[in-house]
Amino acid sequence: MQRIGVFVCWCGSNIAGTVDVKKVAQTLGREPGVVFSADYQYMCSQSGQDLIKDSIKQYKLTGAVICSCSPRMHENTFRKAAAAAGLNPYMVEIANIREQVSWIHKDMAAGTEKAIILGRAAIAKVHLNAPLIAGESPVTKRALVIGGGIAGIQTALDIADAGFPVDIVEKSPTIGGKMAQLDKTFPTLDCAACILTPKMVEAAQHENVRILAYSEVAEVKGFVGNFTVKIRRKARYVKEDVCTGCGLCTEKCPQKKAPDEFNLGLSNRRAIYIPFAQAVPKVATIDPDYCMMLKTGKCGVCSKVCGVKAIDYTQKDEFIEENYGAIVAATGFEPIGLDKFDEFAYSLSPDVVTSLEYERLMNAAGPTGGTLLRPSDLKHPHTIVFVQCVGSRCDEKSEKGVPYCSKVCCMYTAKHAMLTREKYPDTEVYVFYIDVRTPGKNFDEFYRRAVEQYDVHYIKGMVGKVVPENGKLKVQASDLLENRQLHIDADMVVLAAAIEPDKSARPLATMLTASMDTNDFFTEAHPKLRPVESPTAGVFLAGMCQGPKDIPETVSQASACAAKVIGLLNKDRLVGNPCVAHSDELMCNGCSQCANVCPYGAITYADKEFRMPDRTTAVRRVAQVNPAVCQGCGACTVTCPSGAMDLFGFSNNQIMAEVDAICK
């Protein structure tokens, strides 16, 4: 039997004005199990708390019911007070007689009666309360960043600077991501490589950063603070620690027909290659799809020319396993496929390019060496049409494109238009737009400059079709403001393709048990208040994988994300919420329905041996809840037909006791 103390707060006249607090205290004092009851002006004040503490000690209370304001207000205050007096904080229950009684009822008799009933319910619950001790788990002081783009690099650097080791897993042979492919960046027009490559180098040289390029996450186990991740290191066929990145092999390789991914297929590379000059790690990689040696066993040129004997045709994929305390998803984006937008003739003419391809065509390190030449005949284009919102802002029922605004297209198109006009003033540049969206520091000024200083033709309207004809691209479009249809003979058409999350994000989300929205963007724990955390504890989000954003936003989110990771890794132990689910293994039959509804993947199954009542032993599959992962929603408890799954702090019996007390 519990020894319960009841403490009724007046809250000045807030409660005492409509509730007869003395009567409440007296009536509840007669309830079975209640050994002490009192009322006081302000229970949350220091002296009120002292009253609680003293009573706990004096009357050897095993439980306390505070009739006061909402538990959302002062539950913690009273729990701390109880703990200070040696009572387990989870033996305290609050009856909310302010927000639910005195503030909404005017009738003293009715208010007092309801307050007594709510007090009884709390007493009934405390009778079934048991001391709860929050579980603790150690924190592995190492972070994993998945994705080596600017988001991943920035997150990793910030975490590393705080003194925690970080691994970056990048699926391509080098880090750098999409930003490495860009030419200039808006709105300042500084060159992407100039600001990115120092960061890449910094990452490579940082003592706390390990770069696992050409690698993929294969399996994730564990929970916040204690993840175990299996990483597949794909075979490069080049010893990463031996290769000096001299590049001789990439010049001698006889296979010249491999499409260069870095240039988006606008040029070819060798079968052994280094993606770009500033690649990190600067190590050659053999493309097994094109290497003659790997395909036919005949060639071996690279091996012969390599001075340091770094080539190893026998390499296999390797798996490494590492423990992490936190995981950051920074998987980035890719432009959508344009196969559903035939009207723009993307697949019909090489001169219709995506904006990202245009970046490469403008880039000094690109396929044309920085001279703007159109791909079909390598001639200088004189008329260029930019089309905005290709695949963005589409209705779901149109069954193509994506429903959201890709956010960055307006700005980079202004940039492209401006740069083109600056370098080649003889070029006519048309931009077809629906809306020009330029919120951001110096963004609209930038766009206005394109129009006002560079004479870019911004036309409100959309291109309806593009037809390649006699070396030209016949562009038919509407000009809504002039209410006319335009026909432009263009040399090039640049499509601002919508962006979508990288394809690798979905399987990764499954491994991380992190949730995703219908567009495959990672969901944040709270859209406003916890924007860089996934609902899955210990998983954080940086960059485009969470939603469209530009470089400054990505970097700030990356740093915010790093701050969250540092905050987590800084703790030696994680103290959990003890109000979590737990499975009574004697009752569980392992049917797995609970795991089906658990949003956190907190439930696993184990085969356990039981001594049966008839003195035999039997092995049975039973559910086990990881208290560090469980957030205590209780979805599993209702799914469990036998009641084997229950929730600490809100057990079946506790809630039923409250129901009973209210209904009697």
């Binding site: 949003p599 209702v638 799914t639 129901v659 009973d660």
Partner: protein, 147 residues
């Protein structure tokens, strides 16, 4: 349960999720929005914690109406709890209806932390419904009657 010679007053149990609806009820209180004292709130972490057993239990012990409140679909603190609650309650309510229990004795309402007004309105309208339905006779336990 009321003592026999008093006029009947409805008894209503409201299960409110901690993150939205309970906070919504708090806001109704803060804004001094009146609703009948017949409504008694039980705090649960999430609407998905509400077991059909709790609802039947409330009716057994003399409740005249039971209402479950949770975050709006899509806003669940635990991402999916209210979606499960929605299916469970739909099926349970349908079964109660099938057994001939009066429509409207049970209700689910989504109330966010910002919807104090909605909370009070919901409770007012629910109490009205229950008053019009009268005492719960079909799901009560005779053993709980005062003799």
């Amino acid at each position: 349960m009321q003592v026999r010679n008093e006029p009947w007053k409805p008894l209503i149990v409201a299960f409110c999720c901690n993150w939205c609806s309970y906070a919504g009820a708090d806001l109704a209180g803060t804004n001094r929005l009146n609703y009948p004292a017949d409504v008694k709130i039980i705090r649960v972490p999430c609407s998905c914690r509400v077991n059909p057993l709790f609802i039947l239990r409330a009716f057994q012990r003399g409740a005249d109406g039971v209402i479950v409140c949770g975050c709006h679909p899509g806003d669940c603190h635990y991402t999916s709890g209210n979606y499960y609650a929605r299916r469970r309650m739909t099926l349970l309510f349908s079964m109660l209806d099938y057994l001939g229990i009066e429509k409207g004795r049970t209700r689910v309402e989504w109330v966010s932390a910002a919807e104090g007004q909605k909370f009070a309105e919901t409770m007012n309208s629910f109490v009205e419904t229950i008053v019009s339905l009268g005492e719960n006779k079909r799901l009560e336990d005779l053993r709980c009657k005062t003799e």
